[in-house]
Symmetry: C2
Subunit: 328 residues, 2 copies
DNA sequence: TCGTGAAATGTAAGCAGTTACATTCGGCTT
DNA sequence: AAGCCGAATGTAACTGCTTACATTTCACGA
């Protein structure tokens, strides 16, 4: 039923090659010929068949973004932000974007091998086996928000150490000496960077760090509030909490309210991610802004360069920025 | 470089037809033949080329989700939730999912015509021209979170009237007579439903509605807070606000705090969407839960049925549910 | 008018599978 | 041993486009 290039060729009286060129390289076709082709095409409601084109060219202009997380994938504001960046950049470059979860990775690896998908961006907690599989199939991959030892691939991460430092500095400037660190559960790489960043920053500020002041909790407000209750109810409590997640910070603020501690008066709090909730809380939350969109865009750029065979940097670090609000 | 079915055919000593069958209909191939083919295939690291298969079969098992919004697309928790649902269901059905924005729709329509994309789910504020274009190209589409007059296509919406009614009832049960409605800016269809739902619910509850108590504002906490300040600072103020968005509700709570009104003591507030922020606010926000995930899943189901040529209901309404927390 | 070279167009061989139809195989009955 | 039949396999046409290479067209100068 569908019109093909042959139908257009017949109706317009030119060869299929010319029809093809009219659509994919019009400058090679003489003006009047071109017009005849267009007329025939619109009479037949012809549209080039993208699948056939992919087949002939052996390329699809299609990339994939795999979010490797157990729970909320795209619902996680962070990964959604990266996705938004990827999407915008992909659109700009005329790339189709397939979004999926890690469950799907074997399937995706197969698709990648047959170049139905040209390259893959992996976000989150990636298993080494997954990376190996893609590499075994000669698929170009870019890691976002993660780094992996022993693999030679481009990574895009935000500058976790800088972010932590900015938060710590902000608290120190406000006169706090006793600063606690509360981290939500993230991938080992992220947690490691953040912890290291904290130690570094505190040393630079000549402030003490005690193990009791470093807490890990789940990434829910309830869990964070619970941990914070313990941390803050002692007689000798920290005067500031550097929460490495806005949700955790919200939990800390809840605990503070329950304990009758005013924020920022009696307790200062900083968050991390600068997510939508920061301006909804009372007081509004000072938080470390991560340019997630740029992370996504950068990942696409790297992927493209890699696909073109160009050299790409192994590591791209996106700077963070502190957004000051009322919680310090 | 890449191994093809011919290479496997040669190495295993069977015809290409048998190789093809071994991969797409193994039960038609005798056990020992099958094994020989598998061996040859793994020796050559052969994987079927999905593009060629798509071409031969004229089908791709690929669908698209187009988010038609100006600003934050996938960053909007609501559309992200729908996306999550679509993604899960698509994975389960072995469909590839392309995610894009409305900017891309002409391109997508062309892809759809050549069946590179088999069907499309449109979310958000869809222009009639867009729908016409897809229909003109014989593409099956499903609308999610929207309905359009004059077009014959399946729609998935949440039961806005029910949601508003649940919120209004909850407030009425708590003894409130003077209930104000605050709506964020959404598509005409949604706003219409919500307003109608409010009028209905208030009538059923035999409560008065005055124009002064119905407010439209932007979907930001700041804008909502500003509107709420006006609404609540008069001497004869409403005792409850039915906010049709959690962000708006957060704005209302901010205004209440500024005015020294305690929530829920002096002012009750309900939100809408039951988003992640509900449990972060103080007090936690009573909100109408929309099963966005199910909306997404349903959209995929409808799309599939439609693609199979089966009849699909024009309208699927997903029920809402009130989640009671501390703000009433 | 003819020759020349660049530009425009045509011919046909891919791209990598699927599958209708034809053929062969192998076990069973007579 | 011949005949038969269904299962297994093979042959080759087909999907719709691109493009290397061959051929034609055309403008321009000699």
């Amino acid at each position: 039923m569908k019109a093909t290039i042959y139908d257009v060729s017949r109706l317009s009286g030119v060869s299929t090659a010319t029809v093809s060129r009219t659509f994919s390289a019009p400058e090679q076709v003489r003006e009047d010929t071109r017009r005849r082709v267009y007329e025939a095409a619109s009479a037949l409601k012809y549209t080039p068949n993208a699948i056939a084109r992919d087949m002939a060219l052996q390329r699809t202009n299609r990339i994939a973004y795999l979010i490797c997380k157990r729970q909320a994938t795209i619902l996680d504001e962070f990964y959604a932000g990266i996705c938004e960046g990827i999407m915008r950049r992909a659109n700009a470059l005329n790339l189709q974007l397939i979004v999926s979860t890690a469950d799907d990775w074997r399937q995706m690896a197969a698709n990648a091998q047959s170049k139905q998908v040209e390259g893959v961006i992996l976000g989150g907690d990636v298993a080494p086996a997954m990376v190996s599989e893609f590499q075994a199939r000669n698929t170009f991959i870019v890691l976002v928000n993660n780094r992996m030892e022993g693999f030679d691939l481009p990574c895009v991460v935000s500058d976790e150490r800088q972010g932590i430092r900015q938060a710590a500095q902000c608290l120190a400037e406000a006169g706090h000496r006793r600063i606690a660190l509360m981290m939500g559960g993230y991938s080992p790489f992220i947690v490691g960077e953040r912890y290291a960043g904290f130690i570094e920053a505190m040393a630079a500020l000549r402030l003490p760090v005690t193990d009791a002041d470093v807490t890990m909790c789940d990434r829910t407000a309830a869990s964070a509030a619970e941990s914070a209750m313990k941390l803050l109810s002692g007689p000798d409590r920290p005067t500031a909490v550097l929460a490495v997640s806005d949700v955790v910070a919200a939990g800390v603020m809840k605990a503070a309210r329950r304990l009758g501690l005013s924020v920022p008066g009696e307790l200062a709090v900083t968050g991390y991610d600068d997510s939508a909730i920061c301006t909804l809380l009372e007081p509004e939350l000072t938080s470390v802004h991560i340019d997630v969109r740029r992370m996504g865009e950068t990942a696409v750029n790297l992927l493209c360069r890699g696909l073109e065979g160009e050299d790409t940097p192994r590591l791209t670090v996106i700077p963070t920025q502190l957004t000051r609000r009322g919680s310090v």
